[in-house]
């Protein structure tokens, strides 16, 4: 019985976060109310308050789970994989409500009085890991600082997706990511590999679960 209750609690929490993501994505933080989330998640007030005491607590949980449900495509680590990951994230931003909501909340967090760069640094760290392998493989120019470029890429990517959202609802995001790489690669990639790198979205294989 305890196990069943626990399963149910996990499912309720998930249902709340899923519903919250949909509402935050559509209405933004200030346009969202706990009541709207409860209705969409079909949970009672008791169920809601067991898990979350405030709208802000839900928003923080949505942001915190940002990396949990984005599964990177398989591939050999290095510069090409870093590029592929940026296109994968573009696709996720187009299609994954939960990811989109968490990104929107991370950008808009001043609305709820927060200024926490942690989600940004987490992405920079993901990028840096690929750059460390790229360095070992001799794919980087000598003057590239992996940590510095990871932060540059993360910030540039973030601005690119915001602008693409503003101008086309992210429809042109893959093309904008291609353009970004067109101008970044000469400053990053070693001459010996730059011609081999593909800066367009990978062909969609069997859809990853």
């Amino acid at each position: 019985m305890a196990k069943l209750r626990q399963d149910r609690a996990v499912r309720t929490r998930e249902a709340i976060l899923e519903a919250a993501a949909e509402v935050f994505d559509a209405c933004g933080y200030s346009g969202t109310s706990i009541r709207l989330i409860m209705e969409r998640a079909q949970v009672t007030q008791g169920g809601m308050y067991f898990h979350f005491k405030s709208k802000q607590a839900i928003a923080e949980a949505v942001i915190a789970s940002q990396q949990e449900f984005v599964r990177f495509p398989d591939g050999e680590d290095g510069l090409q994989r870093l590029i592929d990951i940026t296109f994968h994230l573009a696709r996720e931003l187009q299609t994954n409500t939960r990811f989109r909501a968490s990104v929107r909340l991370a950008v808009d967090q001043e609305e709820f009085g927060k200024r926490d760069a942690t989600p940004y640094f987490e992405w920079a760290e993901q990028f840096r890991r690929q750059l460390v392998v790229a360095r070992q493989r001799g794919e980087l120019r000598d003057d590239v600082d992996e940590r510095e470029f990871a932060a540059v890429l993360m910030a540039s990517y973030s601005g690119t997706q915001i602008f693409s959202n503003m101008s086309t609802g992210r429809q042109d995001l893959p093309q904008r990511v291609t353009a970004l790489w067109r101008y970044l690669l000469p400053g990053v990639a070693d001459e010996s590999v730059i011609g081999r790198l593909r800066i367009t979205p990978a062909e969609a294989g069997p859809h990853a679960a």
Copy 2:
């Protein structure tokens, strides 16, 4: 008399926009009320409604004036001036409340149900003008598309200032802009000029009015 009334109307409108910028910058769109702006601007309800009928109308006027009060530093057009402009904008973001508020509102405009990329395109257009001259001067690589790179720079710059704001309240923005240029320049600048370009803030001369 008519002239006096007109002068006063202009001053009132300016006072409202100035006060609104301070409140929007500090509290964001949803944290701002018309009453807060009226109190700070010391205008009456009648004075306010003569100029602006809603909070949204004020926010749109603040965004629309984004380029009016940012004066670019003098200089010879071209790639170095483009770089200098990005450092000038960094300094303005650190010190100019009106500019900062207009940028914040442009990023957060979904909060008031708008999705208008015009302010973004205006900056891209400013950047493009410098790139057109840079092209004439032989400062660009052959494969640079001026319009495309202008958009890449604008989006990357936008993300850079958002991240810098989130992590350090924009204190490290000049260093982040330097890092951005470090990785963008090899993809943009012709080899003949790249060594001469300075990608640090210009020495502060006599303070521009």
